[in-house]
Symmetry: C2
Subunit: 362 residues, 2 copies
């Protein structure tokens, strides 16, 4: 509940099939279902635990797909079965959020939706919950679209950026978004960070279900029309049929590109709570404990003259000698060795394996 | 037989415990017993096959130790059991060769000994046999100590060098050795190669058993005295007792340092037959087939943006991305990932494992 009494719901996006953590992540078990930091708690579980005290379990919705439904049920037994929403086909974030908004509007009339990725990490969890609470309150004030911006710590080129300015008529700490910027090159990222006018785009959002419907109507009418059908059918015997028939007809479009970049009442709350999207193997060095030489190590590893590496051992000893900036990940049926600067090219390997008909390794 | 009728024997040194090919080489199965080039023939087997037509199997002697005796018997069934000589303790090359010389002198009176490492590779095997034949002939001419020098192809810093000069009164192509040089630094190696006066020290030698005994008497009298006892006891019931009691009393010293550096009638025959000591993982790129990006690959490997690497896959897929100059070797119980320039530091890992009491991995 916000201070004013509107229900706060959370919509956790857990349908992603990310391959950037291959070979540990697989088609049948992507990143959000793994405990990459080795503490036994998966990223999805961390995401939901972070909502303790802010969102009731019965108001937590998970958007996923049929293939991952079993993993979600297993990892999140407290979330009601009727809140697990399966996309019949991948259509990116705008339709996925529309599906959740349709269900929430039908069940609750209206409610604040906190939209959250399921595969990011947060170091200061209490601070994060406070920011989400403030975002929820600001979202409830009107037809506002809130995005949680992160005060940048360094000129990361792997994130999108948000340009922000002072906002009139909003609570202290809430700013207007004046533009979205795609992942910048190194020089541009330096300028963004130096200017003090840019935040990282965290992919965490807050708005009322009704606000999202209104924004869809203006900016993505094709999505809006189907969302109305889904809301009408929700909790009726026809829902599955309507979902399977109409959801795949939605255009595949991200909420950033399809809605937020065109919206008027777009705001951001700049936060800093040790957020990291853990976008690829090298980022484990930022978010998890490293040894005195800056190596992230898990499993049975031994090193000599090795610095700034990510070493994920499997069932055997991994010995690293004279390495710098190398990623090595050993699993039962595949071993990846990769220069940290080439981590984005891991997908070239998975593409090759797909072409070679070696789907069992994906 | 040489042209003059003296028997030619071969003494193959197969007792080394080299760890530079860890984790594929192990205490219980070092490099000479492996087929590093992946053709199924071990380096020891190649060494002996190279003697076809030059040395009769009954005149081939293998110096090894009790631990490797089974491997030698299995890999060289044609070599008579009484020619497999086991050092009771490792004492480096001068005593090992003395043991063989003692047995050969007792059995044959005198004979030429071709002394050969068991873990080097030769590309042009017929040329190599011709050089060994010429070395044997020059050895038979008198109290000559012959070493096969290799015309250097590039300024290798991992080899010892031999300085040579014209020799008086010797056949064409036989030169005097004026000095031995330890492994040089890069600049010195450049100078050696540019000067045209230096050869690589191959560790292949030729001399008569009687010549070696005489050289020991002058330069290593403690080794000589025990070698005389061994020769006396050879093929008597006392041999094993004498060997076990006296061999370990010999000083541990290399033939280069203990004998050759002080000897007078020291000659070299410069050869060039694609010789390589295959001293460490990176050298596999020199001696075995590489892909178009200069990678040596064995096993199930897939690469992207990867150059000049040595990739030895195990029982699972090995994927390499963006790597340059990296060694990766996957075995059942250990995985090595190493910068090629740090290959000599692999022994730091094996030292650590020894200290940690993890001998099963050595």
């Amino acid at each position: 509940m916000t201070n004013n009494g509107m229900t706060i719901t959370a919509v956790v996006m857990a349908g992603g099939r990310g391959e950037r953590f291959w070979p540990q992540s697989r088609m049948h078990c992507p990143k959000q279902f793994l405990s990459l930091t080795g503490d036994g708690e998966t990223m999805l579980q961390k995401t939901v635990r972070r909502l303790d005290g802010l969102v009731q379990p019965e108001h937590i919705y998970i958007v996923t797909n049929a293939e991952y439904l079993g993993l979600v049920q297993e990892q999140l037994p407290a979330v009601p079965a009727e809140n697990l929403l399966c996309e019949p086909a991948p259509r990116n974030t705008a339709p996925a959020i529309a599906l959740a908004a349709a269900v929430i509007r039908k069940r609750l009339g209206d409610a604040v939706m906190l939209v959250l990725p399921s595969d990011h990490l947060v170091r200061h969890e209490a601070l994060c919950a406070d920011f989400l609470s403030r975002a929820a309150s600001a979202a409830e004030l009107g037809e506002n679209l809130l995005t949680v911006g992160i005060t940048p710590q360094y000129p990361e080129t792997g994130y999108g950026y948000i340009e922000f300015t002072r906002a009139e008529g909003m609570p202290v700490g809430v700013y207007s978004v004046s533009s979205f910027r795609e992942k910048p090159d190194a020089e541009t990222a330096q300028q963004y960070v130096a200017s003090g006018r840019y935040l990282w785009n965290s992919g965490m959002f807050a708005w009322k279900a009704s606000t999202y419907f209104a924004a869809l109507k203006t900016h993505l009418p094709a999505v809006h029309a189907i969302a109305e059908h889904l809301s009408d059918a929700c909790d009726t015997p026809e829902f599955d049929t309507v979902l399977k028939a109409e959801f795949p007809q939605m255009p595949s479009v991200s909420v950033d590109y399809g809605v937020l970049e065109h919206a008027d009442r777009l705001y951001t709350i700049p936060g800093s709570f040790g957020w990291d999207d853990v976008g690829s193997w090298p980022s484990l060095r930022r978010v998890a404990k490293t040894d005195t030489n800056g190596n992230y190590r898990s499993g049975d590893t031994v090193t000599f003259g090795t610095r700034d590496c990510v070493l994920v051992g499997g069932k055997k000893l991994m010995a690293a000698v004279g390495l710098e900036h190398i990623i090595a990940v050993d699993t039962d049926d595949a071993l990846l060795i990769c220069d940290a600067d080439s981590a984005q090219d891991v997908k070239k390997i998975t593409e090759m394996l797909r072409e070679q008909g070696r789907g069992e390794l994906l």
